[in-house]
């Protein structure tokens, strides 16, 4: 019974998703109903997850379902982020699809399916489980990206994503097989046991297998040099979907990455050197790509690469299991809040058929919609890491963690990188505030995306007060 308690939030989301999918079969079920249904489901899942977290250590599950899943505060917080992102995505979608009319009722069901895959992924303790969860998530996301079938950009995006994703999925499957060959198990704990007993380089099959899995995970988090897809895919997807991918998907993959690499898999020591370079290249590569972008969506996609770089630092600079896990999950939450907020704002500001999408389109927004402009500025400042926002605290902990682990160079590079990133964050603020408005910035009637934006502004400040114990 307790095993099922762990799964309760996932079960809620999954059964909700199935229910929504069934409802979508009826002609007279309107999109609105599906949307509100999805909101309820996500909110319910969130509350149950929060309830579980509130129970503290009494609710740590280890070795449930024959050691295939784990439940602890790390996975619970990751689950919270994912369900919250799902909820806010639904809110933004409601507004967004008032002006971009290509929605079908299945949209919300797919969002919930993706979320359930993500939540399973965070808890996965075993390679096959991880692979299945990864595919549940990815398949739903592929469809969401290509939702707008008549739009050439969306079609292009889904094709790219699908092909490269399949490429990465192949690596993951192959890597799992090799790992199994090398260690005789697919369970993280047993792999860790094997490595600590025999050493990482004892079995070359294991090395290659681990390597392949690393590649697959790096692809999913868009680390350099596996990042190229992300800009095009984010650009092609609908605004709320992009927001969902940028936040929830990244949280899920990072959670499994952290679980596999350090928390439960014990592989960190053998990969530190690559990850060091990958982290550096990811930060700076992402920055340089972001600088050249004119489209906000592409800029945000590229800035997502940079944030993956910061998160990789936390994986490289492993101090203690608890602190590193807390740092990662805090940064994920910080990033999710700001990014979700940005995409919620863009969901209603981009207008019909996403007509306002470049930096120039947002000229003088502050004159016409001062609150929206202020909210966007706060999100951007949070992403750039300016106090007193949550983004600052997230970066602060990442850097403290790096210094504690002796990776001072990485810490310095992270700071340099965040200075560089000011370029494109401030650029939008300048555009919004220091130019005359040419547009009336008419928005859809539904106020939900606006409400999301302002609620997330509150979160940017509120979450920054949450402490992370060192």
């Amino acid at each position: 019974m307790t095993d099922l308690l762990l799964l309760l939030p996932v079960l809620i989301i999954t059964s909700g998703a199935i229910l929504l999918m069934l409802l979508a079969a009826f002609e007279n079920v309107r999109d609105e109903i599906a949307c509100f249904g999805a909101m309820v489901i996500f909110l319910f899942g969130f509350c149950m997850q929060l309830f579980g977290l509130g129970q503290g250590d009494a609710r740590i599950f280890s070795g449930v379902f024959n050691e295939m899943l784990v439940g602890n505060s790390f996975t619970a917080v990751a689950g919270l982020i994912i369900t919250a992102c799902g909820f806010f995505t639904c809110l933004s979608s409601h507004t967004y699809f008032k002006q971009n009319r290509f929605i079908t009722s299945e949209y919300y069901a797919l969002t919930a399916f993706a979320a359930s895959g993500m939540m399973l992924l965070t808890m996965a303790q075993e390679l096959i489980t991880a692979f299945i969860s990864l595919e549940i998530m990815s398949l739903a996301i592929y469809v969401l990206v290509g939702m707008h079938r008549r739009n050439i950009k969306a079609t292009e995006a889904v094709l790219k994503y699908l092909m490269l994703g399949a490429f990465a999925g192949g690596f993951f499957a192959m890597g799992s097989a090799l790992m199994y060959g090398g260690t005789g198990s697919t369970k993280f704990a047993e792999i860790a046991g094997f490595i600590s007993a025999n050493g990482f380089f004892a079995s070359s099959i294991l090395v290659v297998g681990a390597f392949f899995i690393l590649v697959a995970l790096l692809f999913k988090i868009a680390a350099f040099p596996f990042h190229a897809w992300v800009v095009d895919v984010y650009d092609g997807a609908a605004m709320p979907v992009t927001g969902f991918m940028a936040t929830a998907l990244k949280t899920a993959v990072f959670a499994v990455f952290a679980n596999f690499l350090i928390l439960d898999g014990g592989l960190q020591a053998s990969w530190v050197e690559y990850l060091f370079y990958i982290a550096v290249f990811t930060m700076f590569g992402g920055n340089l790509i972001a600088i050249g972008q004119n489209s906000l969506k592409r800029m945000l996609a590229a800035s997502g690469i940079v944030h993956s770089g910061y998160l990789l630092i936390a994986l490289v600079a492993f101090t203690s299991r608890d602190f590193t896990a807390n740092v990662i999950v805090f940064y994920l939450a910080a990033y999710a809040v700001a990014t979700m907020g940005m995409f919620a704002a863009l969901s209603y500001l981009s207008g019909e058929d996403e007509q306002r999408i470049t930096f120039d389109d947002f000229r003088g927004l502050a004159k016409v919609r001062p609150f929206s402009a202020a909210a966007i500025s706060i999100f951007l400042l949070s992403m750039a890491g300016i106090p007193p926002t949550v983004g600052f605290m997230g970066k602060f902990y990442i850097i403290v963690n790096a210094i504690n682990a002796g990776q001072v160079l990485l810490a310095v590079l992270a700071i340099v990188s965040s200075v560089i990133s000011m370029w494109y964050y401030l650029r939008l603020i300048i555009t919004m505030y220091f130019h005359e408005a040419r547009d009336d910035f008419a928005v859809a009637k539904s106020p939900l995306a606006q409400a999301t934006t302002f609620f997330l502004v509150f979160c940017v400040f509120a979450l920054s007060l949450l402490p992370v114990s060192v």
């Binding site: 090395v207 596996f226 897809w229 690559y274 590569g285 560089i420 949450l466 402490p467």
Partner: protein, 639 residues
């Protein structure tokens, strides 16, 4: 015996006004341009938070009173705020005798001022905004008072600084008001720097054992004497900013630009008392650094003297009161400086009543005369405004130190302690200032209420203020009379309850001076009051004409040209320095690099954009190249 000393409701005391501020602020923000809400709603929302805070403060007081005298405190840790290295700071609150005493009058007087504001601000277009700020102000002050350590105190410290800025420049359509707000903010920032430095040194020296008052107090003996002195002086710099002492007192008179209830709040219940409170809070540091105490005492009493001189020549009713506040604050610092912390705090307490009363009374007069503030244009208002007249009379008597009223007892206590603790110089100046206080207080009083009207037209329209304004006046007047009896010294047959109450929070030694010394102090205080008041009556009691200031009077009326001096010595050179940098350094040294790096950014950005070609095959090739490089690296390691 370990008592349960953690409670859960302390946080609510500052939270209530803060929530009020948020709610009112949001309501105002979203409705002010489209459909403004009624003032009644804002008024009710505005007083709710302070009223609940007051009730909770009283509850805290009684619970604290029920505890045994030693270890009399409550604390609450709401959450760990941050935890870096040795610095572990919780968002924590502490209710001990000192903070609860402050709490009681801050909430009580703050609430009265809120009620009064409903009447005073009626009809203002930014009524809602005003109450949001006022609530925020009170909430910040409550954080400051209830904080369990210097860091949380600093949050409140900065909060009141911000709110004073917002409220002083509240009538922001006039440039002067905005400048006054700026001045208050900037001058306070200078003081804050001292506070931050003092706090940092304190942490550096003894912060590793916990950075809250209780731990600091335990570890204070480990402090090196020189370090202790430096910390005390730096903290005092902070206090001079917030509590308007030499040399940073210049902002307070200008702060009159705000609405009168704000002046009352700044001068009586919040903000300026913060510095005195802080010094008393750190009494365990100041007792170890007698030199710092002497500096505090002398700065205090000289400020009192200077402000009293200025006060004697002002013609704006609020300026007179402003300088009287600076002067009284000087007394308080003299009190805490001579290590009579409870006397200093007690004067804060009584002063809060009569100063709030005087400001609200002045506000009532100003309202009646349609925002006329020049005392040389008033006169004879006694007949028109009886409630205001009688309450103001009580306030003036208390301020002037009339025997049997609150101000007398608390001021006398400070002066007596100065004498008893070996500061005869401070005492002598203090007595002189007492006489001057009596003089300028009654000068103002007689000019406003007695004699004949100087401005017939305004006089004809003047009428008593509405109940919502006069009732707070009456309540405060009762406080101004009786607050002093809470700490009646033995010589008057009292038991010094406040001093005993505060004993748990302060580190204070009570000297056993002779009865003769005490009688001398009392006699001198009474004489000072009598002389000052008598001269004022002779000069102004029967009506007087506005004099043409000459010589010293002109010099004092112009405030010794201190503002001009600061402007010439600090502000102008500073601006010139900035301008010089703008002319030389910026175009020739920094701009080039900045523009170059900006260009570089664009070039690199464009270059990297090229890699985003958009072909899947190319992207796959990137992956393969990356994979190959990593494999190469891997094979290197394997060999």
């Amino acid at each position: 015996m370990e008592m349960e000393q953690t409670v859960t409701y302390l946080v609510l005391i500052p939270l209530m006004p803060l929530v009020g501020a948020l709610v009112i602020g949001l309501l105002h923000m979203f409705t002010c341009t489209t459909r403004p809400l009624s003032e009644r709603l804002y008024g009710i929302l505005g007083v709710t938070g302070p009223v609940i805070a007051t009730i909770l403060a009283v509850k805290t007081f009684f619970e604290l009173k029920g505890m045994p005298e030693e270890g009399r405190y409550f604390s609450q840790k709401v959450f760990t705020w941050f935890n870096v290295g040795e610095l572990d700071v919780a968002m924590g609150f502490l209710a001990d005798p000192l903070s609860v005493l402050m709490l009681l009058f801050v909430t009580f007087i703050g609430t009265l001022i809120h009620f009064y504001s409903i009447g005073y601000m009626a009809g203002d277009e930014n009524f809602g905004k005003f109450f949001a700020y006022l609530n925020l102000f009170l909430g910040s002050m409550l954080i400051l008072v209830l904080a369990d350590g210097p860091v949380v105190m600093f949050v409140g410290w900065e909060g009141v600084g911000l709110c004073s800025y917002l409220l002083i420049s509240f009538y922001s359509k006039e440039r002067d008001n905005v400048l006054a707000g700026n001045k208050a903010f900037i001058v306070n920032r200078i003081g804050d720097l001292g506070f931050i430095l003092g706090m940092s040194l304190l942490f550096w020296a003894i912060g590793s054992g916990g950075f809250d008052y209780l731990s600091l107090r335990e570890n204070a003996s480990a402090l090196a004497p020189g370090m202790g002195l430096a910390i005390c002086l730096l903290l005092f710099v902070g206090a001079t900013g917030k509590s308007a002492q030499i040399p940073l007192y210049v902002w307070l008179p200008d702060a009159m630009a705000g609405p009168t209830p704000v002046s009352a709040l700044i001068h009586a219940a919040t903000m300026v008392t913060a510095g005195v409170y802080m010094v008393a809070r750190f009494s365990f540091l100041y007792v170890q650094a007698p030199l710092a105490g002497a500096v505090v005492a002398w700065v205090g009493i000289l400020t009192a003297l200077l402000a009293a001189i200025f006060g004697m020549f002002q013609k704006d009713i609020k300026k007179v009161l402003a300088y009287s506040t600076v002067s009284q604050l000087g007394y308080m610092f003299a009190g805490v400086g001579v290590a009579a912390y409870s006397a200093g705090i007690f004067h804060v307490f009584t002063h809060a009543f009569f100063k709030a009363l005087l400001f609200l009374g002045a506000g009532s007069v100003i309202c009646a005369l349609h925002h006329q503030q020049d005392i040389w244009k008033m006169g004879g208002l006694k007949a028109k405004m009886p409630t205001t007249y009688w309450t103001m009379l009580i306030g003036c008597l208390a301020l002037a130190g009339c025997p049997l009223l609150s101000g007398f007892f608390s001021k006398d206590e400070i002066l007596y302690m100065a004498l008893a603790n070996g500061y005869p110089g401070v005492w002598l100046v203090g007595v002189l200032v007492a006489a001057m206080t009596a003089y300028y207080t009654f000068r103002m009083f007689f000019l406003v209420f007695h004699g004949s009207a100087r401005d017939e037209e305004a006089y004809a329209h003047a009428k008593e203020s509405p109940k919502v304004m006069t009732v707070p006046l009456v309540i405060l007047a009762i406080g101004a009379v009786f607050a002093g009896y809470l700490n009646l010294p033995a010589i008057f047959g009292g038991h010094q309850q406040v001093t005993h109450w505060l004993a748990g929070s302060l580190v204070e030694h009570h000297p056993h001076a002779s009865l003769g010394l005490e009688l001398l102090a009392i006699a001198a205080s009474i004489a000072a009051f009598a002389i000052g008041a008598f001269i004022a009556y002779r000069k102004f009691g029967q009506g007087a004409e506005e004099p043409e200031f000459q010589g010293f009077a002109k010099f004092a009326y112009n405030l010794f040209y201190v503002d001009q001096f600061y402007h010439a010595v600090i502000v102008r050179p500073y601006k010139a320095f900035g301008a010089a940098i703008q002319r030389t350094l910026e175009p020739y040294v920094t701009d080039g690099h900045v523009k170059l790096s900006s260009l570089l950014y664009q070039l690199i950005g464009q270059a990297f954009k090229v890699f985003q070609v958009g072909y899947v095959r190319i992207y796959a090739i990137y992956m393969v190249i990356g994979l190959s490089l990593m494999s190469l690296f891997l094979s290197q390691t394997l060999n």
